[in-house]
Symmetry: C2
Subunit: 303 residues, 2 copies
């Protein structure tokens, strides 16, 4: 299992506060020490940092905590290896180009026996189930549209494609092409929208507070998507399971319930596969509960 | 015009010394202040850093000068914009995936009226002639081989493809897929091989010396490819014009003279286009001569 962090913003926003808390889960407050990565869109361009070291020890992560990079779409990931060895090519986020645009993807979960037919232009460099799923998504998106589709059209395409992957296991993911952020929840994903009037926020994983009212302008707005809430004094919303949410300009703009399509395909799986997936998901629930207990305990000790 | 730096090494090698001198040309000792970038292969994985700030002022470049990243294939670039605005998506090196491998490309030069037919899986994200050339190379490489070819086979393919681009103007470039480094010289490119017994080296652009004998083992070997030599006490070799050299394991392994194919295609160009290309190349020669005079003068003053 891994953890995800993504920001979709109305105006270019720096993620140093959220990333600082998130990094602690990459080896200090949680066990996701098998690599990390973060991608920042800047117009059509991309700054992309990956490392197979733990996020708490990486000099590159330290730079990003200190150096504010402003972006409207940011995708970050800390990794606890389940499939694929610990190596740079297995670090999320993954990037591909399609139609002259960069596409960035990060995954939290575990897909069982997932070996899609990849006959086209997107092939995995590493050995993770996550990159295979991303390559298949990109291949099918490319086949579904003759040219660059709108965000609404892409959302409809993803709505059809996601259940074909998600019934293989846990498929919490974020995807961005710089225009929008798509987030899908199989089991665990939360979000909040920081907007006017802004308030204070205090990290759960680090002794750090910030008053966003002092840093932001009234027109700023940022949606923050994360596996487990980063702060203990803000209103985080849990995604419903098997829901796809499209974030545009810092707001949750389009919601799709994929439960029925997911359940239909899940029912076709053999019983032993369904049992294996359920076991993995139960282990993930337990790991997250353990992490929350530990973090809250540590947080209490420090206050 | 821009400047290129690339390393192809027998064993994983850090490039902090060469990159430190090279960075000075990104705004201090020379005028290439319109962005920079560097890519490090690590196995099949890639660390890729780009910035549209000047290399001398960029916090990310500062990190890389201090933080040794060991790699067998490194590609770096400082940019002086000729075509395409100053933006992140126009910063070299460019990266694409083909056959589950990363491919990295950086270009020094200027291609006149170069708008190749890009019908396939590689499209430029930015607006430079360089990225168009890279996309066309990748498209044609993909069409030329059913699966992953050997380094020797790829070299033969490049030998056929390069003149089809180089007759449009100046096409000094480096390309790597992590297995080898291909370097092509239209007008300006130099290389040296650092190997046992290693010696001292002193940067021309910075007050920095290093004794490679103290840092390296006898089995280490690194080929350093650069637009203008980085040091004034090592034996740099100038590439012959219109030559393609394939570097493997830190040595210049395969040489191809593309002069005849290049000249044949150049002769088919209209006279005004040939004049425009010759003018651009003369301006580049003058800019490089001016840079060498200034650097040597500054170097003399500091000693």
């Amino acid at each position: 299992m891994c953890q995800l962090l993504a920001l979709n913003c109305k105006t270019p926003t720096d993620a140093t506060f959220s990333f600082t808390g998130f990094c602690q889960r990459g080896g200090r407050t949680d066990e996701h020490a098998d690599g990390w990565g973060i991608s920042f869109f800047e117009g059509k361009g991309l700054r992309h940092f990956v490392d197979h070291e733990s996020a708490v020890n990486s000099p590159v992560a330290e730079l990003i905590r200190r150096y504010p990079i402003k972006s409207k779409n940011i995708v970050a990931h800390v990794r606890k290896a389940t499939q694929g060895e610990i190596s740079l090519e297995n670090a999320h986020p993954f990037v591909r180009e399609l139609w002259g645009r960069n596409w960035v993807f990060a995954h939290n979960g575990d897909l069982k026996n997932y070996h899609p037919t990849l006959h086209g232009q997107f092939r995995p460099v590493g050995t993770t189930d996550s990159e295979r799923a991303f390559c298949w998504l990109m291949q099918e998106i490319a086949k579904s549209h003759a040219g660059v589709p709108s965000v609404a059209e892409l959302t409809l395409t993803l709505k059809d494609l996601i259940p074909q992957i998600s019934h293989h296991g846990t498929f919490n993911f974020v995807l961005s092409n710089g225009d929008a952020m798509w987030a899908h929840c199989s089991t665990h994903l939360h979000y909040l929208v920081r907007e006017y009037p802004f308030s204070n926020a205090k990290l759960m994983d680090d002794d750090l507070s910030v008053n966003f009212a002092e840093l932001n302008n009234p027109e700023d707005r940022a949606a923050v998507i994360v596996t487990v809430p980063l702060t203990d004094n803000e209103h985080w919303r849990a995604f419903a399971n098997n829901h796809l949410v499209t974030f545009i300009d810092g707001a949750a703009a389009i919601h799709h319930d994929l439960e029925a399509a997911h359940a239909k395909l899940s029912a076709q799986l053999p019983q032993d596969m369904r049992d294996a997936i359920a076991l993995t998901q139960a282990q993930a629930v337990e790991a997250l509960a353990r992490y929350k207990r530990n973090t809250l305990a540590a947080s209490g000790a420090a206050s």
